[in-house]
Symmetry: C3
Subunit: 341 residues, 3 copies
């Protein structure tokens, strides 16, 4: 989607084009209809099924000598009802909770400050063929608290070394005289031709600004290979939540395949396996299947249809959406239109 963003013509007050200082207005409106067949049938309109609905402003200024200043303000939207649904927050007004950063970029890489996706999340979540949105998305990153986005981060991103890139994030907990809410994360990625690999690790301390109620430590690894006729992707993630003596260990496996169909279509299939162990007790398990088709009407506009099925065992209760689980099971379908601008 980033490739299809529209750059607004930036003119100075005196009328000449300032090529080095453009501001880009961008966004996505993605709205569809979802039907969930679980304990109760539920149908409704949902936003962000193929790509999260959003509105943003971003820009780059060339400072000379290879140095650039960059800012990025991006807010989530609930396009079914018009309110603002921001990454990780429940506020109803527009907030730049998806990303709110300023950075300086040069030959040394980039230093950024603010709220954004963590490097640990980015490194492995990109191997979910459903892009971690919609009913068939992987729930590997969203069970038992999350470290998808963190406030108050100072981040460093290296340049690419033959396809290798590394990144580190430090998020201030902003708690007086304690480490409450502090976040540490890092990633290592490799992207070269058809092969892509990613490693991520992070740690969020309970309390403070992050509002996490437990210490959370997570590791993830993933990869994909593009065979041309299809792209195969897989990832593994393990997360431990601790509070006092109690511990919950969550493990997720995901594998997916995406393949072009004709000139404008794309088929996606995925399987997710979730395992949860509470204080060393018996494993809760869930298996999730996803099938999707995206038909591109242009580079910016697509219609899509997605089917997902989840089956929980041993007391697991991972849900695809509203409607409630039926003996641990739920089917969901959704169809809609996505437009990026």
């Amino acid at each position: 989607m980033k490739k299809s963003l529209i750059a607004l013509a930036a003119l100075s007050a005196s009328g000449f084009v300032m090529a080095q200082s453009s501001v880009t207005l961008f966004g996505v409106v993605d709205t569809g209809v979802t039907y969930v067949n679980g304990a109760d049938n539920w149908s409704g309109m949902t936003s962000g099924n193929n790509s999260t609905s959003r509105l943003g402003f971003r820009g780059t200024e060339d400072l000379g000598g290879g140095l650039k200043a960059q800012f990025w303000l991006e807010a989530g939207l609930n396009t079914d009802a018009g309110d603002g649904a921001s990454g990780g927050a429940s506020g109803t007004g527009l907030e730049f909770k998806r990303r709110s950063t300023i950075g300086l970029q040069g030959g040394f890489g980039e230093v950024r400050m603010g709220r954004e996706l963590t490097a640990a999340y980015n490194a492995a979540s990109r191997y979910d063929v459903f892009g971690t949105v919609g009913v068939a998305q992987s729930r590997a990153w969203s069970q038992g608290g999350n470290q998808i986005r963190i406030n108050n981060m100072v981040s460093y991103y290296t340049p690419s070394f033959g396809g290798f890139k590394a990144a580190v994030n430090y998020g201030f907990g902003e708690a007086t005289q304690s480490r409450d809410g502090r976040y540490f994360g890092a990633s290592l990625t490799y992207d070269n031709g058809p092969l892509s690999l990613g490693l991520g690790a992070d740690r969020l301390n309970a309390g403070g600004n992050a509002a996490a109620t437990q210490d959370i430590t997570a590791y993830a690894v993933g990869g994909s290979y593009n065979f041309g006729a299809a792209k195969l992707a897989a990832a593994y993630r393990t997360q431990e939540n601790k509070l006092g003596g109690a511990a919950v260990d969550r493990t997720a496996y995901l594998i997916g395949l995406s393949a072009p169909v004709g000139a404008a279509g794309e088929v996606k299939v995925s399987y997710n396996r979730y395992e949860t162990e509470v204080n060393g007790g018996a494993d809760q398990k869930a298996d999730q299947f996803g099938l999707g088709y995206v038909h591109n009407l242009s580079k910016r506009t697509a219609v899509y249809g997605t089917y997902a099925y989840i089956k929980n065992k041993n007391g697991a209760a991972i849900s695809l959406g509203n409607g409630g689980l039926d003996d641990g099971k739920q089917h969901a379908i959704q169809a809609g239109v996505r437009h990026a601008f």
Copy 2:
């Protein structure tokens, strides 16, 4: 106002104009001073007296073959205090509660999804010469709950057949296993030369997402004729609110006249009659008179002055604003500036 919207020049990153994919930033800032002479005198600054203050982003993409993708995000503003006053909601932050839609348009008409004005409202409310804003607006659509805008709608708009157009709205209630909050509405309009006619009917079920506390069924019909020297407009609307055995029936009649004065002025007069019958009891009645003048400083900017008077009888308590009714009566005047961009 739509005619005066500014289209921002949309350039791709490589510098050429993408004529088929423009994004438009648009809005209205309308602020004025209002004085209400009722039980207590009240004076203050008010927003959206001649046209609702707003900020929006909208765009169209030509997909080829006569097909277009369209999005529209529009938020209400309270320009007297700077907060977001969104259509039908009380949130203080900016929300796209006036309109939040995505649509596909072609020879078949247009299919849209999201929150917007209902077709039933649009069909007849356009015959209020005060545009349903400001102290002299018709209260025909805003007594006892409203169906002006609805969340979660799938809508279909036909193309024009010799001036005739039809539209249907279905709004998901999003309540599990019930019809709570569900909305159905339809309209038929005719616009040809000086003559305009409109019919609207809709039904909103209590509960669910719509937060209506009663089942509401409404019908409206209206028309206008432009004689050149003046335009005469009239409408009738009836609304029944039901909850259990209790029923409230509301009927409104409105008639108005607007006429150009000189090159830049417009005079508007209107009369509204409201009748309310509670559980078959004696009619509550109110008569409302409005007089307004708009002086256009340009196509986008105008100054305006409006006077309104309401007289309630038999226990009716319809108000023009703050300050309280004085023996059922209230006078109000307002003056301000409206600028569209």
Copy 3:
């Protein structure tokens, strides 16, 4: 910063440039790291240390005959966390609480309506070399309620008469049959070559829309002289809060110096003295020192570092930020990046 705003190219739907009607998207992203050494050490990420982070839309339309229509919508941002921090309000969603005005400007000056900075504040606060932001800012305007921005104002600004300008603000209290929340303010300024002078006086009645809990009356005077090698600025402000028989009198003195260093640097030093007298009791006193350096990477982008120290006496408790006072004392440092667009 206003000088570096980007004007978006405004095109009509038919493609020609409407030179007389441009809309400008503008903003500031300013994020840094702050360390406060008081009773407890506190460190964290903070927004708006050198210039308040913001996002805005403004425009001017030439109406002919020397008359212009102008609108200005400006929202505050918390760029460390992505939410909206608006001038004087605690809402989390985006709100145009920094400024929300419409105005008509001509040879007579300008008449504006809406929420904005008061003229009394503008006249003297501009002599704080730290721009009333960040840890070293003057607290002269922010102790015991403030009249920095007021809702519902009708304002008149004169044109310049040989460097002299005057302004008056009236803010409706919007309370029925009382003067609660009503605001009156005025300013007189003189700007000519190296010399700048400003006088401001205002009065805010308790209650009503302004949510002030006391009647507040304030006077301020200030001035600056640019010697070339350095600019010297000083101001004095006195504020009386009254409720019933109780009165609190606050007086602030500030003096500062700013000087260019090399082609791109600027050094700033300031001293603030605060005195508070509660019901005629013994003076509470505080002394504050500030030292800052701003290094401009371009006209729009800068890195900065600021140090501040405050020492409270006789029960005064004015703070530089989080962390608590240590025997009335606190040190703070902050460093960050500011980018205007």
